[in-house]
């Protein structure tokens, strides 16, 4: 029971902490007295907190779903081509229609992300299931190739500095009025939770899925659409955030198993805590300057992942 309270408690503590960490010192009392402090809270600190929480939770959910679709624990949207596909979409819009509104950017990003994920799924389903690392490795290469393509096109169009915004995620640009579409990502992740049972069944393979009356292809496409939408919205507004979708579902699966209806809330919560922790670190480590949260997560995530690989699995739950 006490173990179950760790994540919620961490979430509340870090959230409060996050509101009072920043270049401008704000005390708890100031919010009540000082109208300027209140304005800062509403236009910057709160939106940033929401953006961080939504990003962490929805990326972790997207990772868990993708791992079920591919039936491989070592894949996540930001490394196997979904995130890179989204960046490609944003880049295309930027070149073809520079002044296009955010919604257009996002729609095309979601479409290209869907296309590149479909490509990865087609490759992954042709590979031997007995070689899980091979699938993950091929995914990394596949994502790397698309990422390289994005860089090349950006280089040609003299947009190299611009694409950094989407490929290296960070939250310092989040302000009121510039992040609200992220709530759509939260909605999509919530919608995906309604189909948790179907994704769990999909993770048991085609025979079980069809035997239990699932429309196999349809559920697969729905899952892929959810993953692509979440990735596209995150990439356009925040930028690519690595490792959350990989590490969080794996740790939760180790402790609680793979029944997504039971584990998805925990996955969402843990993803939010991880990204929030990383974002606070990114603000504190070199204060008053900030590091990109993607860099912090890259280091944290790599360490967590190594621990995950070398730690023996618990035999009995």
């Amino acid at each position: 029971m006490s173990r179950r309270l760790i994540a919620p408690l961490a979430l509340v503590t870090l959230s409060i902490l996050s509101l009072f960490v920043g270049v401008t010192e704000i005390g708890t009392g100031d919010v009540l007295r000082d109208p300027e402090a209140r304005a800062l809270m509403l236009t910057s600190r709160l939106p940033r907190l929401f953006a961080v929480l939504i990003t962490g939770a929805s990326l972790a959910i997207a990772g868990a779903i993708m791992q079920m679709l591919v039936r491989n624990r070592f894949v996540e949207p930001m490394t196997v081509g979904t995130g890179q596909g989204a960046a490609l979409g944003v880049l295309i819009v930027t070149i073809a229609a520079p002044g296009a509104p955010l919604l257009v950017q996002m729609t095309l990003a979601a479409a290209t992300a869907f296309g590149t994920s479909l490509g990865f799924l087609a490759i992954a389903h042709r590979m031997p299931p007995s070689q899980p690392f091979l699938v993950a490795l091929v995914g990394l290469i596949y994502g790397g190739i698309i990422g390289a393509g994005v860089t090349f096109v950006a280089y040609q169009a003299d947009l190299l500095q611009y694409i950094d915004i989407w490929t290296n995620g960070e939250f310092s640009g989040i302000l009121q009025g510039r992040y609200e579409t992220l709530w759509l990502a939260a909605a999509v992740a919530g919608l995906a939770y309604l189909a948790a049972d179907q994704f769990s069944i999909l993770g048991m393979g085609r025979t079980v899925s069809i035997g239990l009356g699932l429309n196999y292809g349809q559920v697969m496409l729905f899952g892929l659409a959810a993953v692509s939408l979440v990735s596209a919205m995150t990439v356009t507004i925040v930028g690519m955030i690595p490792f959350v979708g990989l590490v969080v579902p794996n740790i939760v699966s180790r402790i609680m198993g793979d029944d997504l209806r039971r584990t998805l809330p925990q996955i969402a919560l843990s993803g939010a805590v991880l990204v929030l922790g990383a974002d606070i670190l990114a603000r504190v480590l070199r204060a008053p300057y900030e590091m990109p949260v993607g860099t912090v997560l890259g280091i944290m995530g790599a360490a967590l992942f190594l621990w995950l690989l070398y730690r023996p699995a618990p035999r009995v739950r």
């Binding site: 069944i201 393979g205 025979t207 069809i210 429309n215």
Partner: protein
């Protein structure tokens, strides 16, 4: 009753099933026996709509396989998957719970939970209900999977080589259990077996395919079934 009419199917370019006509009676055990590559598993996967046949039709009672909605068929017919396919970390109780999905579609009722514990008890898995699948032996895992298909509560049960990883004692207790399902619960069981001894001891009907008279030949199709 499962009625198979003029069923043909290819695997790759080779014809495995050629114009098969078969009737599998209700409430009894029918065994499909024969050497590897005779088309037994193919026939089973076509009945379970895992593959679409080249031509011909299959009816399960009044439902035409392929034409009726797949979730409707899932409440009439269950297939036992082969063990190695199952990868996720689930407890036995969770796995068996998914057998109820065709009925509750994600919102289990007390009735569903009761059926799950019935199935767990029937397969004597009570002590293992909260163990994770990846900590079980091959035989225990096989029983857990069978419990899932039993919990699906369908009139028809299809089993593809269920004795594959089992020793003699486990094989006999599994076949005895299939007899119980059929006699006490009125289930219809279609099972692919390799061993003719188990077939003759436990099955009501045998469908045999041999090299001289494979499932794939029209000449053989009429003399396949005997009691």
């Amino acid at each position: 009753m499962i009625r198979i009419t003029d069923l043909s199917h290819n695997l790759g370019t080779s014809r495995v099933l050629h114009g098969i006509d078969l009737t599998i009676p209700k409430g009894q055990i029918t065994a499909l026996i024969g050497p590897n590559g005779a088309g037994k598993s193919t026939l089973l996967s076509l009945i379970a709509r895992l593959d679409t046949p080249l031509s011909g039709r299959i009816d399960v009672d009044e439902l035409q396989v392929g034409a009726c909605p797949t979730d409707v068929l899932a409440r009439r017919l269950a297939i036992l998957p082969q063990t190695p396919e199952i990868a996720p970390r689930l407890s036995v109780a969770e796995l068996v719970g998914f057998g109820r999905y065709p009925h509750h579609k994600g919102r289990p009722t007390p009735e569903d939970r009761a059926r799950v514990s019935d199935a767990i008890a029937l397969l004597s898995l009570d002590g293992l209900a909260h163990r994770s699948l990846d900590t079980l032996s091959g035989g225990q895992r096989q029983r857990a999977l069978l419990a899932m298909t039993v919990a699906q509560d369908t009139d028809y049960l299809l089993l593809d080589e269920p004795l594959n990883n089992l020793d003699i004692a486990a094989s006999r207790s599994l076949m005895t259990l299939l007899r119980r399902l059929c006699e006490d619960f009125g289930r219809t069981v279609v099972v692919v077996l390799h061993d003719i001894n188990y077939a003759s001891r436990y099955a009501d009907w045998k469908i045999l395919s041999t090299p001289s008279c494979p499932l794939g030949s029209r000449a053989g199709a009429m003399q396949l079934v005997w009691r």
